[in-house]
């Protein structure tokens, strides 16, 4: 293989982590299966008929970017957090540290795999939405993908921070879930924010996932990036914060 030993190692590590991800039923379920279940559940309740709530768009039309946000949050706060914290606690990182591999390669492999799985989760949603509910896509695919990448990396950063500052894998997992679940329901990722009362909508302004939902929903219906400067700013800020803090808090053991 071309590209030097570190690239070959990265490729091997990434492929291995891919296999491990798919062998771990819980992570694969929440990333790949659960969003589809939500889609079919709400699809069977509301269908995808044009609705006055959503400016003439159907429930499923606006749910696909929202559920994508849900997958991003789950990947960041569960998959990344649990894997890194458990790898550290069990001594898996220690074992790797005895080899010439660089820590960057280990973390990069982790990010690539979780990113690919998140992307796969979104693709499954789009396929199901397209064939079962004939969703309308009014945006630009590259633009949506760009937003998806930005939001994913920002949330992965949150996962790394949690894994870094929590003392044990167990607490990292619990804290991750405690942050994740309320956020899913209050940010508009789990179900449309239009259905929430006004007072609760005010709370969502404090949740980072809200900005993911806003950005992805906007890009999905073809709005310009310039219409989402706040969302982008929050995501970029979160990403920078995540990278700095996770470098500072990374521990081998």
């Amino acid at each position: 293989m071309r590209g030097g030993p570190q690239m070959r190692r990265l490729y091997k590590m990434t492929w291995m982590e891919c296999k491990l991800f798919l062998r771990e039923p819980l992570g694969a379920f929440f990333t790949l299966i659960f969003p589809l279940m939500m889609l079919f559940l709400f699809g069977s309740i509301y269908g995808n008929a044009p609705s006055q709530y959503f400016n003439g768009r159907g429930t499923i039309d606006i749910s696909i970017p929202a559920y994508t946000a849900m997958i991003i949050a789950t990947s960041g706060l569960m998959s990344i957090t649990i894997t890194i914290a458990a790898y550290r606690e069990k001594g898996i990182l220690r074992r790797l540290r005895t080899t010439p591999i660089s820590p960057f390669t280990i973390l990069a492999a982790q990010v690539i795999v979780v990113f690919l799985m998140t992307l796969l989760g979104m693709i499954l949603l789009i396929i199901a939405g397209k064939f079962v509910y004939h969703v309308h896509f009014e945006g630009n695919a590259f633009s949506v993908f760009g937003g998806f990448v930005l939001c994913s990396l920002s949330f992965f950063g949150l996962g790394f921070i949690l894994a870094g500052i929590m003392p044990t894998a167990r607490t990292a997992q619990i804290v991750g879930m405690v942050i994740l679940y309320p956020m899913l329901f209050l940010s508009g990722a789990g179900f449309p924010r239009e259905l929430l009362p006004e007072t609760i909508r005010k709370v969502s302004a404090f949740l980072p996932l809200t900005y993911v939902v806003n950005l992805l929903r906007g890009l999905w219906i073809g709005e310009a990036w310039s219409a989402h400067l706040l969302d982008i700013g929050v995501m970029v800020g979160l990403l920078i914060f995540g990278v700095i803090v996770s470098i500072k808090t990374f521990r081998w053991e």
Binding site: K12, K19, L20, G91, I92, R94, T98, T99, P100, I101
Partner: protein, 306 residues
């Protein structure tokens, strides 16, 4: 040639002194053991030498490299087995070997290694399904995968049953016969005695004694004990002859001679010669050799396993 040279190594954690000013060398091709109870500083010391921890003081040279400044390079040419480490639960044995082989520039063929370590039939087993002994064999395989001249083994057989332990010992000896140098730590004195060419006995972060196991036992251990049963009682002239060999204790009809063997005097042989020379009938002759365990007791005044 010295493979490892440790000079005045010191490492503290807060106020706790883990390793206090230790120095030693490890020669090419030997199995060198750091032995001592849990908490004696063995793991801290070996991890400083491996380059995984930064000592507060002292210099460590490993294969001619500085283990602090050249740690990345060192990791590519040494094999390390850690006391507490794991692989992901769902990683298969062959996948682990294949992945770790890809991390080194000229690894040995893991397909050969897997057979040498008796893991062939566990090739497709997941890590979480392996027994303690199988996991340890896999870790040894990972440690020798880079084809290193020097292998570090930290508490290799802790938690294994005696059969698995003996199998691991055979493996370690086969590494030495391939010309590899081995630095190991253990709190099993028996393991050190079986495996090591030389040992350093660590206690409270310091080296209490360092030599070959035999020499340590010769110079420091308590006495050897030779016991036998005399049904007819002890004739006084025999007692006198035996008392020249060592101190005599009685437990009913059981006689115990406690003494030291030297190079030209084997206690057991002398006792037997004296008995048969006096034409005395005895039975159930037993000899108990002193062990490294006794050396430790002698050095520290306490048992190694509290």
């Amino acid at each position: 040639m010295d493979v490892i040279e440790v000079k005045n190594l010191r490492k503290t954690y807060g106020r706790t002194i883990a390793v206090e000013n230790i120095s030693f060398v490890v020669h090419e091709g030997e199995i060198f053991g750091m032995v001592g109870p849990n908490g004696a500083g063995k793991t801290t010391a070996i991890e400083c030498i491996e380059g995984l921890r930064r000592p507060d003081h002292g210099t460590i040279s490993v294969l001619g490299l500085n283990s602090q400044t050249d740690s990345r390079r060192l990791r590519s040419i040494t094999g390390i087995q850690l006391q507490n480490s794991n692989l992901p639960d769902h990683m298969k044995v062959w996948e682990a070997l294949d992945l770790y082989a890809s991390l080194y520039s000229s690894p040995v063929d893991w397909r050969v290694l897997i057979g040498q370590l008796g893991l062939e039939e566990k090739r497709d087993a997941r890590f979480c399904k392996l027994s303690g002994g199988q996991k340890q064999r896999l870790f040894i395989a990972l440690a020798v995968l880079p084809n290193p001249r020097l292998v570090f083994l930290d508490e290799l057989t802790t938690g294994l049953d005696p059969q698995a332990r003996h199998a691991i010992w055979d493996l370690v000896r086969s590494l030495r016969s391939q010309g590899k140098t081995i630095l190991l730590t253990t709190h099993f004195m028996e393991e050190a005695e079986w495996l090591c060419d030389r040992v350093a006995i660590l206690d409270h972060g310091q080296i209490a004694a360092m030599d070959t196991p035999d020499a340590l036992i010769q110079s420091l251990a308590g006495e050897e004990r030779v016991s036998f049963t005399l049904d007819a009682g002890m004739p006084p002239e025999l007692e006198k002859a035996l008392s020249l060999l060592g101190h005599i204790e009685y437990q009913g009809s059981r006689v115990i001679i406690c003494g030291r063997s030297t190079e030209n005097m084997q206690l057991a042989a002398d006792v037997v010669n004296t008995l048969s020379g006096a034409n005395i009938r005895f039975r159930s002759l037993q000899t108990v050799q002193p062990t490294l365990e006794d050396v430790f007791l002698q050095l520290t005044g306490r048992q190694i396993r509290e």
